[in-house]
């Protein structure tokens, strides 16, 4: 234990203060999501009182149709993230391992998708979905989610593939392995962790997505869970503040759990930017 200089004391106090400030909203969320609606006075409670968390969750869950919308989001996040990572890995394999010409062009063509803001795609996609009868269907929303997730997933997997020694490919080619065999039996197993990192990252992204949820869908049978939460906040007087907070708490649990379970993967995804 080194001696405590004044500088060190100040630093420790600042760190503790920042930590507490950051925890405060989460603390208030949990405390007030547990207050029973009858005893909620309209202003924030600072200390736990009555415990009605389960009732509030139930009320919020029913009002926001979470049974349908959470199932939808689970489906979108799971299936679309998996499809996007597979498609992105195929492209990353072609860009790194195969003798493709004009690699930079293809890379930028795909990567451009993640640079552009979502708003610039919205209206043409809305019109296209309306004319093809895909508006307010899981397919319309699903296709858009897959496409949005491909660029960054490609980026993460590509960055990993470039770190593999070229001998891996060369020796297998000499043995006469075709591209598809090479892909499935060598590069996919080797880049499993990068693919998993991209999957977890995109899963969380889709689960948390709101913008296309409200532009491309309307009915609870199709809407993702964040659109339902936004709708609940829009008329929260109907169910009361504690129920709305309980709903926000519940929809956050899956991604928070994923985040703590797979912290390493998030860091991998973020690190590929450096």
């Amino acid at each position: 234990m080194r001696n405590l200089t004044p500088g060190r004391v100040v630093r420790n106090v600042v760190v503790v203060a920042l930590g507490l400030i950051w925890l405060l909203p989460t603390y208030l969320l949990i405390v007030n999501a547990a207050v029973s609606n009858d005893s909620y006075s309209g202003t924030a409670r600072w200390f736990p009182g009555s415990f009605a968390l389960w009732d509030n969750i139930e009320a919020g869950w029913r009002a926001a149709d979470f049974t349908d919308t959470a199932r939808n989001s689970l489906l979108y996040a799971g299936v679309c993230a998996a499809a996007a990572v597979l498609i992105a890995t195929l492209a990353a394999f072609a860009l790194v391992v195969m003798p493709v010409r004009r690699k930079a062009l293809w890379f930028w063509l795909i990567y451009a998708g993640t640079l552009l803001p979502l708003q610039v795609f919205a209206r043409p996609l809305f019109l296209a979905a309306s004319t093809t009868n895909l508006y307010d269907t899981p397919w319309g929303l699903g296709i858009v989610y897959v496409a949005i997730c491909i660029p960054f997933a490609m980026f993460v997997v590509r960055n990993y593939l470039t770190t593999l020694p070229p001998e891996v490919t060369e020796s297998a080619r000499i043995d006469g392995a075709g591209w598809l065999r090479l892909f499935w039996s060598i590069h996919v197993p080797l880049s499993r962790s990068a693919m998993a990192a991209a999957f977890v990252f995109q899963f969380v992204y889709i689960w948390n997505e709101l913008f296309f949820g409200i532009t491309l869908s309307l009915s609870p049978e199709v809407q993702p869970v964040m659109a339902a939460l936004a709708g609940l906040q829009g008329n929260f007087s109907a169910v009361g503040q504690p129920a709305v907070l309980a709903a926000a708490l519940v929809v956050s649990l899956p991604t928070v759990a994923l985040f703590f379970g797979f912290q390493k993967f998030f860091v991998t995804s973020l690190k590929s930017n450096i």
Binding site: V15, A44, A112, P124, L229, A247
Partner: protein, 285 residues
């Protein structure tokens, strides 16, 4: 043989290129084209009128100003705080617990963050309670009802959510600073702050560029926090370009104006991303 080889390459590339081209790039081109036309079903070519309107309509000017406030706010807050927190917690053993508290909200969606924010920032909410209890009545405010407090509130919420990313990235950067460099500086008598300022910080240049780029691009795209917090209101006073585009296009049915806003937003976002892409490509080539 060469035809087959070309076909197999295409088979690997095509799904990704096809999806991105059809679902993302084509709509982008259509939006760009549409931004030069007026409203309605058979719109007339109006040149740059929609763009000029963005600097004339007080609501859209406010939206531009708010977007600029977001840019400045997210440069100062998540980036500055992220660097400070990463550096301070990296030095202490128990610092990882404080870090966990800061990184946690990153996993929470913008919509849920805004629900908590609306609850804390309403006029009789927790923030004003806290200020009153601390004897700072003069600082209490109608956080969500007046401009510019509502924009600042949204930025603070977004800071709460996104500082974790900056912390994680800066930490990665800090851990790549060679221990010998720091020890050498310590032997030369450079203590705490001096050592950080002159030895550690210059080594974080590459990471800083990436953090600035990512934070800016995310801040400019922010939709869900503002939409759920205030819907851009009251009277459209907390809208940024991302929200103005949504309102003009889908609620006011002015597709030309909405498209022009989307294009301007794209230019700003791509410009902000460019600063970090440049350094990124240099290091990966």
């Amino acid at each position: 043989m060469t035809v087959r080889a070309a076909a197999s390459r295409a088979a690997f590339l095509f799904p990704a290129v096809g999806c991105v081209a059809v679902v993302l790039l084509t709509p982008f081109a259509i939006t760009f084209y549409r931004s030069f036309f007026g409203e309605g079903i058979a719109p007339e070519f109006t040149g740059l009128a929609n763009y000029a309107q963005m600097f004339r309509d007080p609501i859209l000017v406010r939206s531009l100003v708010n977007t600029l406030i977001w840019v400045v706010g997210s440069l100062v807050l998540p980036v500055g705080l992220g660097l400070a927190i990463a550096a301070m917690t990296n030095a202490t053993r128990w610092g990882r617990w404080a870090r966990l508290a800061v990184v946690l909200p990153y996993a929470i969606s913008g919509s849920a963050v805004a629900v908590v924010g609306a609850f804390m920032l309403q006029t009789n909410g927790a923030v004003n309670q806290l200020l009153t209890a601390a004897g700072l009545d003069s600082l209490t405010a109608q956080w969500l009802l007046l401009w510019p407090q509502n924009t600042i509130s949204a930025i603070l919420l977004s800071t709460w959510q996104s500082t974790g990313v900056a912390v994680v990235l800066f930490l990665v950067g800090l851990q790549t600073v060679p221990v010998e460099t720091i020890e050498a500086a310590a032997l030369d008598g450079a203590d705490g702050w001096k050592r950080f300022r002159h030895v550690t910080f210059p080594q974080l240049r590459a990471v800083t560029v990436v953090v600035v780029g990512i934070t800016l691009a995310n801040a400019l795209r922010a939709f869900d926090v503002i939409w759920v917090l205030t819907q851009g209101g009251p009277a459209r006073s907390s809208e940024t370009l991302a929200l103005s585009m949504y309102r003009e296009t889908f609620l006011l049915q002015d597709a030309g104006q909405g498209s022009a806003i989307a294009v301007v937003l794209t230019i700003v976002v791509v410009g902000a991303s460019w600063i970090y892409l440049r350094s990124n490509l240099r290091s990966s080539r």
